[in-house]
Symmetry: C2
Subunit: 218 residues, 2 copies
């Protein structure tokens, strides 16, 4: 029974996701869905992106959280338009929530919106939210077996960021294992080794993002 219900929700979700994609294409706005475990570093990497790309693009942010607005406040402090989406317990963001939120932004003035999804390697991967692109974060302290254990997340993402890469000397993390697993299930995946602390790998990742956003909005 449960499986059928999820299927119905997913079909409805896909319709709304397609509508968002069409709406945003008309407005020439790129939507990027950022996912990863709790504490993988999603907020930090959005901060890094804003600091590196806000002179090139007008950026907005949707902060998804079960509760609270800790991260939205951080984005507000950076001076970007931000909307906090509280899911009130739900473990992922659905397309309908994004569709409801978009009118809060002045889309005519924006080039790209980043969505920080709920910290969760499972459910967010199942729900398209009208995004042009997915980024999955996997932080070094989480361990090198996560691609095998949570395959859908890494199978459906465009880019994998191995985050907190400066910590690799302190953890037993076999990066070749993680990279091989990711490429086995997702041959087109782009993989970046990034540290927000030391800025290692940041420029390469930012360049990739810049190209992807430019591809979409021209």
């Amino acid at each position: 029974m449960e499986i059928k219900v999820v299927h119905q929700i997913l079909e409805w979700n896909e319709d709304v996701s397609d509508k968002i994609k069409s709406d945003l294409t008309k407005k020439n706005v790129c939507l990027i869905n950022l996912m990863g475990s709790p504490g993988a570093g999603k907020t930090s990497i959005i901060t890094t992106i804003i600091n590196n790309l806000s002179d090139k693009f007008n950026i907005g942010v949707i902060e998804g959280d079960i509760a609270g607005q800790i991260d939205a406040q951080k984005m507000k402090d950076l001076g970007v338009p931000v909307v906090q989406l509280n899911t009130d317990g739900a473990c992922h963001i659905e397309a309908m929530s994004i569709d409801n939120i978009l009118p809060e932004f002045d889309l005519d003035t924006l080039d790209v919106i980043f969505v920080e999804n709920i910290g969760n390697l499972v459910c967010p991967a199942e729900f398209n939210i009208g995004e042009d692109m997915r980024i999955a974060l996997l932080s070094i302290p989480e361990g090198d077996d996560k691609v095998e254990k949570y395959p859908l997340m890494f199978q459906t993402t465009d880019a994998l960021v191995l985050n907190k890469y400066d910590m690799i000397e302190y953890f037993d993390f076999d990066e070749q294992r993680a990279i091989k697993n990711a490429k086995d299930i997702n041959p087109k995946i782009s993989i970046f080794k990034v540290s927000n602390k030391t800025t290692e790998g940041v420029l390469e990742f930012i360049k990739y993002l810049e190209n992807k956003i430019t591809e979409k909005i021209g």
Copy 2:
């Protein structure tokens, strides 16, 4: 609509959870539900528990994973009875799955079963699985804001293990913030600072567990 469906599943789940609790009380077996983010260190701490308590209790393990059996193999190598529960995409374990799995164990010979739940700070907290006790892991690299962001997990747990505690000097983790937040929403919570690597705090946590298990099975 979605909320109603979840509600129905939760009610049904509660009935099965109560049945498991009653069945296991008759068999004098304690069930412990271990939860936390992907990579919080759930498998490592179960290994530590087995190494420290297998001379006192007969221990069994249920390994929950979306896919694969990496962790079950580790448990098998330790010589304990283990069953791998693959949820095939689902983000949490439900009581019905535990009820189906228990006949795989010889309950007359067991004192305690540890359930390693799916790596997820959200959904597992909503589903009782007939457990006598919940343990939530929060690893230092995940950050000190996780109690605020994922309150239900920390509100419903008996014990909070601040895991990978040896890493605290490398991360910007305000332990007083995390501890205060946990105690504010859950005044009876027991909190342990543990490192499986340096064994810091392990003995205190093991002693607590031993007492809790003994309380149940006498």
